[in-house]
Symmetry: C2
Subunit: 216 residues, 2 copies
DNA sequence: GAATAATTTTAGACTAATCTAAAAATTTAA
DNA sequence: TTAAATTTTTAGATTAGTCTAAAATTATTC
């Protein structure tokens, strides 16, 4: 088995890989709140275990085995978040830190039974897809509201910013996963957007429009 | 907060304290599968943190603070075991190792909500009492079957041996928590016992009779 | 009440993960 | 296409937890 720390590195590399093909030492250091020197040490270890492809100064990618482990951590993280929200009545902005601990519980039996207990959910409370017990999940096409044009409409299906403050703001505005919105107005000057939500009009800033994801 | 390892030491000391007033270095080493030298190092650290009372060569006891932490770990362990059996359909002999990991999840909010979600159970799947959110629990008087005399009867309420093999044996013999039994016969030669369970007669060895606990 | 046995502690070493500071390699820009 | 800036790696320490072997203390036994 891998240590807690190795798992966190693999998960970080996985998430960063979704943005850029190859992942740099500094990117990893930033995302794990650690120093580049520490990252280099760990990269050597993960490369020895053949969980990453690593050539000095060239950045890293996950091997098939490394990705498999990363996906199992992501699966656990998202299933636990779902459990916390759906069964224990946590708010969607309260679950991340607890899930950061729970994702390292090693029992596969546990997580597969938890998955069944909850009815095999496909998305976590933030709209992120939950890999199944084989690591597979659908990637559905999401667009930030900022990329829509007038009169486009769609379903709120995800967020780009997972911070509590953003999630709390969305909750307050009733801009939660599953709600249908339509672009009623776009302000050319500051790129703020006015949405139709049911029969209410909601004014959101450019930042919010950038971080709120829609499926069409 | 305390490390994973410190928590395991406190819990071990707590459990050993139930048997003998003061706990020795070797007892702790045996219960944690480690060496006496390692235990001495950790005892110094725990004493510095004022979680144990420790004088060289004299054995240790928990301080009030140390006991509070130990009880919170025990609470988490037993609540998770209950969850695994009652919600996820694990068998009572399969839950211990998973609970050993889950007991270190730090969120108090999580465990208190889990407790409520399950209806605040008072006993874990093995009959052990679950401390409430203030660390309080009832100590009910349990006796091993080996201490009973002919025609005594009572309810199976706990086990002294938590090994999978013992639990599996009990399950197979239908000697599970909550069942009523009566002593039908005691064999003077080998101290084996014949029990009445409903209308069946069950023959158990001295060892089993020693490790199966009854409330009258 | 010594001598012996058992227990416990100390000394010194090792591994995993981290850090700072300095060196090496790569990238960018003049 | 060399110089400067940035990124990455190495060198050397540190901390937590563990170990073996040896020394110190306590308990047992003759
Ligand atoms: Mn999360
Ligand atoms: Mn999430
Ligand atoms: Mn247990
Ligand atoms: Mn138990």
């Amino acid at each position: 088995m891998n240590t807690f720390t190795e798992e966190n590195y693999l998960k970080a590399i996985y998430h960063l890989s979704l943005q850029s093909e190859s992942v740099s030492t500094n990117q990893i250091a930033a995302s794990l709140n650690t120093k580049a020197a520490s990252v280099t040490d760990m990269l050597k270890k993960l490369a020895d275990k053949e969980l990453i492809n690593y050539a000095k100064y060239q950045g890293v990618t996950l091997t098939a085995e490394g990705e498999k482990i990363a996906l199992s951590i992501v699966r656990k993280h998202r299933l636990w978040e779902y459990f916390l929200v759906e069964k224990l009545n946590f708010k969607w902005d309260e679950v991340h830190d607890v899930a950061e601990e729970l994702e390292h519980i090693s029992s596969k039996e546990l997580i597969d039974r938890l998955d069944d207990f909850m009815g095999n959910p496909k998305y976590d409370p933030h709209g992120d897809p939950i890999p199944d017990c084989n690591g597979l999940f659908k990637v559905h096409e999401l667009k930030p509201i900022s990329s829509l044009i007038l009169n486009d409409s769609g379903i709120i299906s995800g967020v780009r910013d997972h911070s509590s403050s953003f999630l709390q703001y969305l909750e307050k505005m009733q801009l939660t996963i599953g709600r249908k919105v339509k672009v009623a107005e776009i302000n050319d000057y500051d790129h703020s957007v006015i949405l139709n939500l049911e029969d209410k009009k909601i004014h959101i800033s450019r930042d919010v429009a950038n971080n709120l994801l829609i499926s069409l």
